[in-house]
Symmetry: C2
Subunit: 336 residues, 2 copies
């Protein structure tokens, strides 16, 4: 079991290390990559050697971070995982298997972190792990450069849907202000991260709108894309990611489901919910996981059978939520 | 001509007034309504009478602001316009004409403010006029309530596309943090303002995607919706508003144009640009106006003739921008 430590301890460990390997989770998003890039530059400013290992290729849109990929160019004396909730999320590339077994440190904001590292800094109130890395820089007395700020802003803005998700706090905004003052090229970054959609992306969006189905009197909406559609559109996997917010965004929808067929046939399911329903609980039932409002799982079988299973589970979750809500209202009335 | 004054003077004027009429611009957006609601509650906390007059009905989604519409229930001794760049934008309802001629004060962030009020607080660095109203509350030593914070957060978040637009500054984020700490129900507001799309909205989005045309090697993209399509979809005018960011959001597009036919037949044109091109200059050519990246105008004529006129203007603007860019590069090379 891991030991939970604070940022002062984490900073001390990093100060003592010299050759530091940073690990990001597979299927990398802006937060794990932004944390890795930010930490790489923070550590280098302290005269350390630092490089980043990710189980999957780092998407090109993050090229501006100037991340150095780890390819065995030094012998790490310290391994730190950023924004990685479990060791399984590190993936199984040969190089990863060599270093992922027992990381010295994990810095994360997922409440469900499995405690796989020797020591862990866990702050589930952070909207993004990059928020914690920004505070770590302060702890290390590193003055943020524009390059660091670009990385950290990427983590925070992508993990909060550009400050839209319920995880965003006053601290998130204050840190964003600090990063802007440190020189983050926010305008350019927002353009890259949020305002640029390829024609392929627009094509798959049209297909998604066509596949849209409503269930349970409109409380659940589902989008389903086959592997053929995904291939035909030419869309990159990363671009598909934020399509998952579409069904939940429809008025009256409490649970939004997005099914994306994988190249090998099974369906990746993204569950997005309002505060009424626990997305993670639904995903858990199928061996998945995530956050309270955004979770995911993967299911084998025919499209029809998967849809049926999911709707059963969503029905149960919605019924439980409605019962809970009525109970709370009754209690409030009794108190009055 | 108006006298430009600072917030201290504006605060003094409001302190001296008793019965205050607040004016919002017609076709109201979250900023002008958020400012009006915020200021109404700020003034009431100081014991003043305050109500809001808007040339068009206030959209229902802003009901949570609990704005009191002005219907002649008191005799204003002070009139203040918020987020209104010109007197024309106040509209011409009978009640408005009675009070719009010479407002005592205007609080605005549009660089092109025409100076129609007796005194004007103008801060073009503010991402939203609601940013200025928040600072005004501080100047008035009013402690922000959750109700005020809800109104002001609405103004800031809607005018910045939830902190995405280039107008967003470090100060914008700091003020957002303050408003969250004052109790703004950000989660609920973001749900209402950004994450809720009606089925009608999705339907018009599908139509927009179908109408999408590319010009000038993909540097310009255009969406065109007829009044029949808009009617058929059942979409509310306010919901159409943020569709205008769609064409510009496509990779490689420098100028995005959205044409929406009005009930009386003419076309409302929204111009959205990257930093390469001045949207306001394009709109100006057709008697419109706005900001550098987002502007608008209205054109009469057939769809085809309007498209041709617009593309001519966009071609000229893009050619000028490219020439300017090359010039700058040459200068930089000469300096090296």
């Amino acid at each position: 079991m891991t030991e939970f430590v604070d940022l002062a301890v984490a900073a001390q460990r990093l100060r003592e290390a010299e050759n530091i390997l940073i690990l990001s989770h597979k299927n990398p998003d802006g937060d794990t990559i932004g944390c890795a890039g930010g930490l790489q530059w923070i550590l280098r400013s302290l005269g350390k050697q630092a490089a980043v290992l990710c189980g999957d290729p780092i998407p090109e849109i993050y090229d501006y971070m100037n991340i150095e990929p780890f390819e065995g160019q030094f012998h790490p004396d310290f391994v730190v995982a950023v924004d990685v909730a479990s060791v399984q999320l590190l993936g199984e590339s040969e190089l990863m298997l060599e270093y992922s077994e027992n990381p010295n440190l994990c810095i994360d904001h997922h409440g469900g972190n499995t405690g796989y590292a020797y020591e862990t800094v866990l702050d589930p109130t952070a909207a993004a792990a990059a928020e914690i890395i920004t505070l770590l820089a302060q702890e290390l007395e590193v003055e943020l450069t524009p390059q660091m700020a670009d990385c950290l802003y990427t983590g925070i803005s992508t993990d909060t849907g550009c400050f839209k998700f319920s995880s965003t706090t006053a601290r998130t905004h204050r840190i964003a202000a600090q990063l802007m003052e440190a020189g983050a090229n926010v305008e350019e970054l927002n353009g890259i991260l949020f305002e640029s959609r390829s024609t392929a992306r627009l094509e798959i969006e049209r297909m998604a709108l066509e596949s849209l189905e409503y269930y349970l009197d409109g409380a659940c909406a589902m989008v389903c894309l086959t592997k053929e559609q995904i291939q035909e559109s030419g869309v990159a996997p990363a671009e598909l990611e934020d399509l998952t917010s579409l069904p939940r965004s429809i008025e009256g929808v409490q649970v939004g489901l997005t099914l994306r067929q994988q190249p090998y046939g099974s369906y990746k399911v993204s569950v997005r919910t309002t505060k009424l329903v626990d997305a993670c609980a639904i995903a858990n039932r199928f061996g998945g996981g995530g956050h309270a409002r955004a979770a995911g799982c993967e299911l084998d079988g025919s499209q029809e059978s998967i849809k049926e299973l999911l709707i059963q589970e969503v029905t149960a979750a919605l019924e439980a939520a409605t019962a809970r809500q009525q109970e709370e209202q009754t209690e409030q009335q009794e108190e009055v």
